[in-house]
């Protein structure tokens, strides 16, 4: 079942990229999807890995563009250029709930759209920051507190207050 779900997500993501390279499925464990993510007036070359942990942790997304700003406040890892496009606990909570209530294939559809929308949102910020020579992540752009503990506290509080559905 999960193999089919991975296959489904990988192919749909592949179809949504601009000029994607051939879908890579080296073992039976993961798919490597490479191609362009369409942004506002730009295309960002990215690599995405879909594996068995799809619903428990956000799939790794790496952006290969030179304009990507690296660092914690830019939500891009200086070591491997991977993007922190969603809070992992929120991803896990939401998708595991959807698996229970709607099944794997619906959860897969949500995961794919969520991933793509969030990556586009984050990369559009990077493009604009590059164009405007911004040196700091503006306060107007939402983000979870850095690190696991603070973000978890804020997330749990928001859940209790029903700010997160």
């Amino acid at each position: 079942m999960i193999d089919n779900v991975m296959f489904n997500v990988a192919h749909k993501l592949h179809d949504d990229l601009v000029m994607p390279r051939k879908l890579n499925h080296p073992g039976r464990e993961a798919y490597l999807i490479r191609g362009g993510v369409q942004l506002n007036g730009a295309v960002a070359q990215c690599s995405i890995i879909i594996d068995l942990s799809l619903f428990s942790s956000p799939p790794p997304v790496v952006c290969h563009e030179s304009w990507l700003k690296l660092g914690a406040e830019w939500h891009a890892s200086p070591s491997d250029k991977s993007l922190c496009y969603v809070f992992g606990l929120e991803w896990k909570d939401k998708l595991e709930d959807i698996v229970t209530t709607h099944g794997y294939f619906v959860a897969a559809q949500v995961a794919k759209e969520w991933l793509l929308r969030n990556v586009q949102w984050l990369l559009n910020k990077h493009v604009l920051s590059d164009q405007l020579n911004l040196t700091e992540w503006p306060n107007e752009w939402a983000y979870w507190p850095h690190g696991s503990a603070l973000a978890t506290t804020q997330y749990e509080r928001a859940k209790r207050n029903r700010q997160i559905i």
């Binding site: 164009q131 405007l132 850095h146």
Partner: protein
Amino acid sequence: MRIKKVTINHLLENIQPLSAEKGGTAPGLRYSWEQGFHIYGNLNLHLRLSASEDAANAKQYIRIVQAYASIAEACATIANVVLLEVQGEVIHMLLPCELGKQSTDHLLAFCIIFSDIIHKEIKPMAGEAWQSFVMASEHGQAVLLRNGNGSSDSVVSLGPAANHPAKQLPTTEAGMLSIRPETLELVHPNVDHRKSWEQFDLRNPPYKPLSAKQPGSSSITINESLMRSEASNIITKIRPDLSRPLTILSRLDVSHQFETDSNNPFSAQGFYMRADLDGFTADVQAAFEDKTGQAVMQIVNRFAMFMEFADAFAANLQRPVVRLPWAGDCANMVLLPRDGRSYAQERGYVPATESAAWHELTSKANSAGQNWREYLLKSDWAVSIAGGDDKDDGGDGYLLIANIVTASRRFKIAAGWGAGRSHDALGVEGVKGKDTVVHRVDHGELSPQFQKKFHPLNSIFLKATGLTTNILTRESVKDEGKAMPMIITGTNIYVPPPKPHFND
């Protein structure tokens, strides 16, 4: 910057930087206050100057402008006219004189002979690229300035008489001279005073100037035969060059400090940027009323600061910039793509962000703590940036940059779609200080958040008013910050708004 008043002859000499005379190294500014006829010539050519496959056109363009400028310099010298600047197809000359019957006669004689020489010598060279040659002239005072930094031998002219004829060129008919009716009336009675400008037919002149009738017979007579023989000699000398190989360098071949000449022209994709001072010409005109020269000195001081302003702008940009001579109170430069970026990648923002950076600088201070605004007073910059695409005659951002070298001078020029459109943009009715004007093809490539800052000016150009970096950043960041939740189609499942998280 050191400033010194000099005679017009001294202004044109090959000068050392002023401060070098005192042992310094910073460039100085020399100026002269002159009255006379400002004479413009415009050679209209149709040569597509775009990608490397159009190198033959680029070579032909350079050869033509080279011959045109050399002939202009030679003819001007013979006729006691001064060649001030060469800006590609447009040349600007000055006949220093008082306004009168004799000087107007001299002007017409020179224009008739010069126009005929251009038709005889340049038209065959241009072949199918030839469209027309037109001239325009007005008498008045002007401040002439020359920067001693050695980048170009162009002389900058400030004053209405230096501005007006240039703006008249696009509406002048082929083979004609645009001239004020009250000036033409000094020698020729049939003028229409309802018009601002008369069109004087240089090919079939309704008035035969006395100055051209008897070569060599008096001091005011123009030596027509010498003008013609000099022009012919120039073409004979240049002709062998036409078949000589000409290498067009690309950006990859050159360093930032590279100086082009006509044998090493440079072609690159970039954005042609112009910044024109709205309101300054009126200040210059007012300064002429003060006969002590103090007000003119203040104008020169202010202009020296404007030159420093343009230097500061270029220095702050994180990209290579090709500086071009000022055209009156209009700064010109070519913005090349940043290292590692392509022209295509930068089309989405450069026309908005870099023009906004120019406007932003007006509210700042220079390194000595002086506010730029103190020198602008009530005048303000109107900015245009043009690049173009690869459709129709768009040129795909390619600009040809070369130093046109004449017998004793050199003039840095840039040609291509962006050069022409950025010029046209600032000439549109309704463009004022604080405006940024872009062509519709460049507007179409801007990112959506930048596109919406511009509003149609006419069917070709769009403008934004008061667009500074501060405003552009604040509004774009706010717009970009809007994060909405998402409902997944067909499932009614809610996905929270985007909110990134960095886990150390």
